[in-house]
C-alpha cells in the first residue's frame, strides 16, 4: 500500500516525530465543531521547512493526502483527514523568526498562536491586530483568511500578510511577496495562498504586518430597543468617517446568555460594543461624536470602560460568546453560522434570521462584527438527534442563501472547509470552476487537504 510505504519513509525522516499513537490520531481526528471524527493515518511534527518539503515529496510520490494542523480551532472541519493521510501538526514550528520594529513587520512560523506573538511583541510598542477570538495559530488564521472583531479597522488576514513561504504539492519551496509594503510585481501569490485552506500547499513561514499600539484605547457598550436603530447608527458612524477599532452587535438572546454565563446584568435587548484606538484627543473626539450618533438613533446607556481591566472584561465576555451560547443548553453542540452581507442589508438579514430561528424549535443567539456586515448565529443542537441535525442544517443553509440573495457571502471569516463546499457553486457560479482549474494546476494529484473547498477535490 502507498500509505504504508509513505509512512515508513516519513518515519525514517522524522523518527518519533511521526506518531501513530491512538490518542494522537483521535485528537487530530476531531474538531471544535460538530463534524464526526475523522482520524488520519498518522500525525507528523516537522521542525523545519526542509522536513515539510521532504515529507510532502514522499506523500506526493505515493499519492497520500497531506493536511495542515494549527491550533485545531477551525469551526468548519478544515483540518479533518476525511480521506486519511498525514496530518502535519505545526506545533513544533512556532518560532518568531524576526521582529522588524522599524518596518512594522514580523516573520513567524505557522505554529505560533496570535496570543503568543502578541506576548512577545508587548515591549516593542507594536502588536498584531487581527483577533478572531480563539487563540488560533497564525498558520491556521492565514489559511482561512481569518478576521474577527478588529477587521473593521485593521482588515483581515488578506490585508495583513506581506509574504509567505509555501511548500507546494510536489515538495518545491517557494517564497511569495517581500517585506516591502506593496508590490506590483506579478500575480498576487500571497493572496492566492491566504484563504486557500491548505489545498494548494503548506504554509511554512509568514511575514505579517504589525501596527503601533494605540496611545489610547476606549471601549464602551450601549443598548438599543430596536436592532434596526443599532445598524443605522453604525452606518452613520462609518459614513462620517469616525474610525472604529471594533463594533460588535449582540442580540437580546445573546445578552441573556452573557448574563447567565458571565454574571453580567444587561437588559435583554440588542447591544453594540465599540472600541476606539488613537491619540488621546482623537479618541475622545471620536467617542463623543459616536455618542451623539447613537443618541440620534435611540441608543441609550453608552457606558465607557476606559480602565484596562474593565475593557478586558468587556472583550473577554464577547470572546466567550461561543461558550456563553453553548451554556444556554447544557450538553448541546453549536453549529456556528457565518454570513456577511453589504451593511445596508444587514438589518434585513439579521431580522429575517432572528424571526426564522424564533419560529424554529431550536435556540440560537446572534452576534456579529456589525461594521463588516458579518454575523453569526450559534445554533444549539444535539448531533445524535436527527431532527435537530436536519433543522440546524436547514437554518444554516437558509442563512447562506439569504446572504447571497442580499449580495453577500456564505462565509465572512470561518472559511469553507468541509462544511460549505455544497454552497460554493451558488456563490461563485463559473468562478468555482476557475478555482478548480487553479487547484489542478498546482496540485494535479489532489493530495493537499482533499475534500475541502474545491469541487470534486
Amino acid at each position: 500500500m502507498g500509505i504504508d510505504t509513505a509512512l515508513s519513509e516519513i518515519s525514517s525522516l522524522l523518527g518519533n516525530r511521526l506518531s501513530r499513537a491512538k490518542v494522537d490520531l483521535a485528537h487530530h481526528g476531531q474538531s471544535e465543531a460538530w463534524f464526526p471524527p475523522s482520524p488520519p493515518d498518522a500525525v507528523a511534527y516537522p521542525e523545519s521547512t526542509e522536513e515539510v518539503s521532504q515529507l510532502v515529496r514522499i506523500c506526493h510520490a505515493h499519492g497520500v493526502p497531506v493536511i495542515g494542523w494549527g491550533a485545531g480551532t477551525s469551526l468548519e472541519g478544515h483540518a479533518l483527514a476525511v480521506r486519511g493521510g498525514v496530518v502535519v501538526d505545526f506545533s513544533h514550528m512556532n518560532n518568531i523568526v524576526a521582529i522588524n520594529d522599524a518596518d512594522l513587520d514580523a516573520v513567524v512560523q505557522p505554529g505560533i498562536t496570535r496570543e503568543e506573538l502578541n506576548h512577545e511583541l508587548r515591549t516593542t510598542g507594536l502588536f498584531f491586530p487581527i483577533d478572531p477570538g480563539a487563540n488560533a495559530s497564525l498558520g491556521g488564521m492565514t489559511s482561512t483568511r481569518a478576521s474577527g472583531t478588529t477587521a473593521v479597522r485593521y482588515g483581515t488576514m488578506r490585508d495583513n500578510v506581506l509574504g509567505l513561504e509555501v511548500v507546494l504539492a510536489d515538495g518545491r519551496v517557494i517564497h511569495t511577496g517581500t517585506r516591502a509594503r506593496k508590490s506590483s510585481a506579478g500575480y498576487d501569490l500571497t493572496g492566492l495562498f491566504v484563504g486557500a485552506e491548505g489545498t494548494l500547499g503548506l504554509i511554512t513561514q509568514i511575514t505579517l504586518r504589525l501596527v503601533a499600539q494605540p496611545e489610547t484605547i476606549l471601549s464602551g457598550i450601549c443598548r438599543f430597543s430596536k436592532f434596526n436603530d443599532a445598524v443605522d447608527a453604525v452606518i452613520a458612524t462609518i459614513q462620517m468617517g469616525i474610525p472604529m477599532a471594533r463594533i460588535e452587535f449582540v442580540d437580546a438572546t445573546m445578552a441573556k446568555a452573557f448574563n447567565d454565563y458571565a454574571g453580567a446584568s444587561f437588559p435583554e435587548d440588542p447591544h453594540l460594543m465599540v472600541e476606539f484606538h488613537g491619540s488621546d484627543a482623537g479618541v475622545k473626539d471620536d467617542s463623543a461624536r459616536f455618542a451623539e450618533i447613537i443618541a440620534d438613533f435611540n441608543g441609550d446607556g453608552f457606558e465607557v470602560a476606559q480602565k484596562p481591566e474593565d475593557r478586558t472584561a468587556l472583550w473577554a465576555m464577547r470572546h466567550n460568546g461561543y461558550y456563553a451560547a453553548l451554556a444556554l443548553r447544557p450538553g448541546a453542540k453549536a453549529l456556528t453560522t457565518d454570513v456577511c452581507v453589504p451593511i445596508s442589508r444587514l438589518a434585513e438579514a439579521v431580522e429575517e434570521t432572528r424571526a426564522e430561528i424564533d419560529e424554529s424549535f431550536l435556540e440560537g443567539p446572534i452576534l456579529g462584527h456589525v461594521g463588516d456586515g458579518n454575523f453569526h448565529a450559534c445554533l444549539l443542537f444535539e448531533p445524535d438527534r436527527p431532527e435537530e441535525m436536519a433543522e440546524v442544517k436547514r437554518l444554516s443553509r437558509n442563512m447562506a442563501q439569504r446572504a447571497l440573495r442580499l449580495g453577500g457571502t456564505i462565509t465572512g471569516e470561518h472559511g469553507i472547509g468541509m462544511g460549505k463546499t455544497d454552497l460554493m457553486e451558488a456563490e461563485h457560479g463559473a468562478a468555482w470552476d476557475v478555482m478548480g482549474d487553479l487547484k489542478r494546476a498546482l496540485d494535479p494529484d489532489g493530495i493537499m487537504n482533499p475534500g475541502k473547498l474545491v469541487r470534486g477535490n
Copy 2:
C-alpha cells in the same frame, strides 16, 4: 490567416467600432514611456460585457492576441501589442453602474477614470482614495495594482477592489468577490486578477470600496538638510501610529525641478510633503505631533497649507513631478524607475541611488511615497542615443537589484509590463514558475496580453 478571419468576424460583431484606421493603430501603438511603437492589427471599442465576451471567443478560436487598453498612462508598456492582435479600448465602457452610499462602494465599468469617478461622487460625501497621479482608468489601475500618494493611508488597488467581472481567455464571463466587506469563501480570485495586467482575462466591471470624505484635510511641507533625517522622521511618525494620508519625499534635484517648472521657490534640499485626513481635533493633534517629530529630526520650516487652494497647488505640483522632471532636459524622455523597499532600508536605497546617478553622465531627480518605502528616479535620456539608453537601463537595473538585496521589490506600483519581465526571476525564483502554471491553466493558448509579466508568455 487567423487574424484576417478573426477581424472579419469581429467587424460583423462591432461594425465601425472595430477600427483599422492608421491613426488609431498608431495611437494605440505607443505609450507614455520610452518603448518603441508597436501598433496592433485593430482596435475594438466594445460597449458591453457580452461584446467583449464574443470578441474574446473569436480571438480564442483563431489564436489572436487580445490586449486591454484603459487611458494609456502605463509607464511599462502594458498595453502595447508586441505580437499584434486586437487592442480592446474600454473608452466606451466608462459608466458608473451603481453607487451604494450606505455600503461605501461603487460598481464601475473599466473605462471610467478616477477623476471622472470622483467628480460623480462629489455630492455623496464619499470618494475613491487611490491616487496614482495620472488620470488613469479604473480598469488599468486594477490591472496594474496601482497605488500612489495615498497608499500609506488607504492601501493600493489590491485593498480597494471588492469584486470583479472578468472575461476569461475562452470568452466565459465570471464574477469574483461580492459586495460584502470580506469573505473567506475560497480562493481570492479578485486578488489574482488585480495586478495580472490583462494576462489572465479582461476586466469588464469593478466593485470598488469608497471612503468618507474627511471632515478636515491638512497639508504641509518641510525641509531637511539630510535625507536620512527625513526618513527617520517618517519611521518615528509611523511607529507612533500617527495616521498620515500622504507622505511624499522629493530630493534636492526634484526641488530644483519644481522651482524651474512650477515657479516654486524651495530651498534646493530634500523635502517632505505631508497630508492628514480626519476630524478637526484629530488632524490638529496629528499635525502638532508630527511637527514635534520633525523638529526632533532637524526638519524645519513646516508650513501648513490649510486652505483648499493652497493644498491643491501643493499636490498639483507633486503630481506634475514627471513633467517637471522632463523639463529639466527639454526634448528628453524619462525612464521612471519604481522600486519599493522595507522602510528601514529606504535611506540606504535612496542614498546609494542618488550617489550612482550623481556619478552618471545623466540626470535623474528622485521622488517617492516614503511612507510605503516606494520611490522613483526619473532618468532623463534621449532614446536614439545608444549610450544614453544603455546607461538608463544600467541605472534602472541596478536600482531593481539594490531593492531586491534590501528585501524589497522591483516595482511598487507601476507593474511589470514589457519593461521588467527580465527581473521577475530574480525577485520570485521558483514562484515565477508558479505564475506560469497559473497563466497556462487560465490561458493555455497564451492569447491574453502576450509578451508581458510571465516567462515565455
